[in-house]
Subunit: 423 residues, 2 copies
Amino acid sequence: MTMDIKQYMKEIGERARKASHAMAKADSAAKNKALLLIAAAIRRDADALRAANKLDLDAARANGLEPAMLDRLTLSDKAIATMAEGLEQIVALPDPIGEISNMKVRPTGIQIGQMRVPLGVIGIIYEARPNVTVDAAGLCIKSGNATILRGGSEAIHCNQALAKLVKEGLAGAGLPEEAVQVVETTDRAAVGELITMPQYVDVIVPRGGKGLIARLMQEATVPMIKHLDGICHVYIDDKADAKKALDVAFNAKCHRYGTCNTMETLLVSRAIAPSVLPELAKLYASKDVELRCDDEAKAILQGYAHLASATEEDWSTEYLAPILSIKTVADVDEAIAHINKYSSKHTDAIITEDYSKAMQFLREVDSASVMVNASTRFADGFEYGLGAEIGISNDKLHARGPVGLEGLTSLKYVVFGHGEVRA
Amino acid sequence: MTMDIKQYMKEIGERARKASHAMAKADSAAKNKALLLIAAAIRRDADALRAANKLDLDAARANGLEPAMLDRLTLSDKAIATMAEGLEQIVALPDPIGEISNMKVRPTGIQIGQMRVPLGVIGIIYEARPNVTVDAAGLCIKSGNATILRGGSEAIHCNQALAKLVKEGLAGAGLPEEAVQVVETTDRAAVGELITMPQYVDVIVPRGGKGLIARLMQEATVPMIKHLDGICHVYIDDKADAKKALDVAFNAKCHRYGTCNTMETLLVSRAIAPSVLPELAKLYASKDVELRCDDEAKAILQGYAHLASATEEDWSTEYLAPILSIKTVADVDEAIAHINKYSSKHTDAIITEDYSKAMQFLREVDSASVMVNASTRFADGFEYGLGAEIGISNDKLHARGPVGLEGLTSLKYVVFGHGEVRA
């Protein structure tokens, strides 16, 4: 039997749209109850989840999936507990829906404000991370949206098992089970349909590698909340405090290599490079970080074990590895110009004690997060106090930077009148 | 000589992107100075503007342009004065750029907030209304954006004359002349380029009829702030105050027929229809409004001079004319369901004295503006207190409803640290 994917996705879309109306009306108590029921069901069925996950892992091993992917695919005891706790954290967040802000009375007598409402239907496309199924479902439920989840085919068994628990929780709270639907086919054509049905889907949040997202960008007609990559910079100004410079530049590179908020290029003021770079190199040496330098920095770092010359390509490369490109610059103006040219507009930081240069950097660097004297690794929904994060956006429209519940909502104008008409 | 449109638009895009960096840094004083200089130049050169406009009008008449279009194309003394005053009103608005909001200290010690910054480059595509050249330029300058203006070919002479004055004002304030560029070719291929160069243009605001916008939506790869049409509803609930119902339903239809916030469909509660519809018909009769009714409303209105039966198509038709479709419904639930099915998500109103139904309508109607006891004609940037409006959005992402200066900006995260690193 051949499944008609187009028809299958259309039916999912119709059910999601219908469920979105019920979700938009749902009160906080019902939404929170659903989240708590799902958390409890996940804990209760931990054994069954591990069994489903084992089917995925066995198939993945048989298919020769690489160890990093296997790692992400694995539902350990800790991962299961974290999923349940994540839902409880979302329960604790304030419900954004229905809040009215910016109320004012106009000279005509009408009162006008803005009410926060759900976007409608959110499509989530992700790779082999089963925890995304639960995290994304939780955020969409709390924000009053319906969601269509399309996880990686490697995780199909455990995603289906999780989907059953999510539906159980929704039903237990009197909410429509169709508010969260997991696409049950691993056919890639389903993704093609999902990203081109704006009549059913209001926004797509792709979670995954650059390859996945670049592919989706080519074809999507539904708007996306996304970032393609994270080429983050730290600029050490000549007025930097040396200790802060060393702490931040080491942490931004070495805290984790594979994350999008990791520093990939270090810019150093020419005036301070001879004193700060050798000290920094001692720290990087402890982690065997390869340093790809421009001529000036390379001259200063002669003798470092993993030294290389930077090419033009290095300035726009996201290594996701213990590799760092280093460039010397004349001043903050040159640093800003370099960043605005090569940065992926994700997160960039300046290290300085100079007030005016700090303010200039904050104003002029055109990135989603701009920092003074702090590690780029802080660019994260939890660190920013959003409570949880559905994704990160490098775009300027709608949501920018780490995206929490608010990014899944919209503001509509509400007008309270007393029979006023326009003169 | 054939002009290479692709290359021509690319060069415009590059200049705009470069100018956008200078505009993002510009302080309020310089931006306001430019606006005041442009206003003064428009008043000074009123005769020259009228002469340029005469060239456009002569050509338009020779080409047989219809009277309504000629009317929009005409730069009267009043239109010239209004353009200059419009710029002065923009000067009086607060500068949105640089404002930092939502500052908070996180447990790690970092302080985080959101800074309002320009989007970058705004593309405006419009038809034969030369005043849009000045209004749009003014809003983009104040919000720190560069802009590329592509007006209707019918207004080419007067748009060029206005562009010269805008450049004079920018230069006089020390800002780059390239911050506002008017496309100098009437070749339609220029529009095709403008809407498909996301590397140079951050957002497109199309101003014009449904035909123009539908065409752009097919091809654009740059995001748009737009609305396609305005199918607005008024629902008269059975708990409506009769006077408010009559006032609002008459004003929403008859104040102006050609505007997107004009009511096109009236919904009436079955319980109140027999008493309210005949009274309303007396008002509509004074304006010869054609009433296209469902069977129930038609039975009540027997004898009305311009009575017709509504077809399914009427519920999704924007008449922009003295025509109104009327449908009787059982209750607020049926009204909301009808609106969420047929409305263009622009503006919809309920007339009621019932608190719970008013709140339900505000919450559940999924439109950019939702009103209680007020005319849909209020859905307008000026009436909402935005000061001026670059357009109206029926979409849910980014900007929704009337869009003022804020819709031309974005919020980036700013982090103030003291050397913090991620643990």
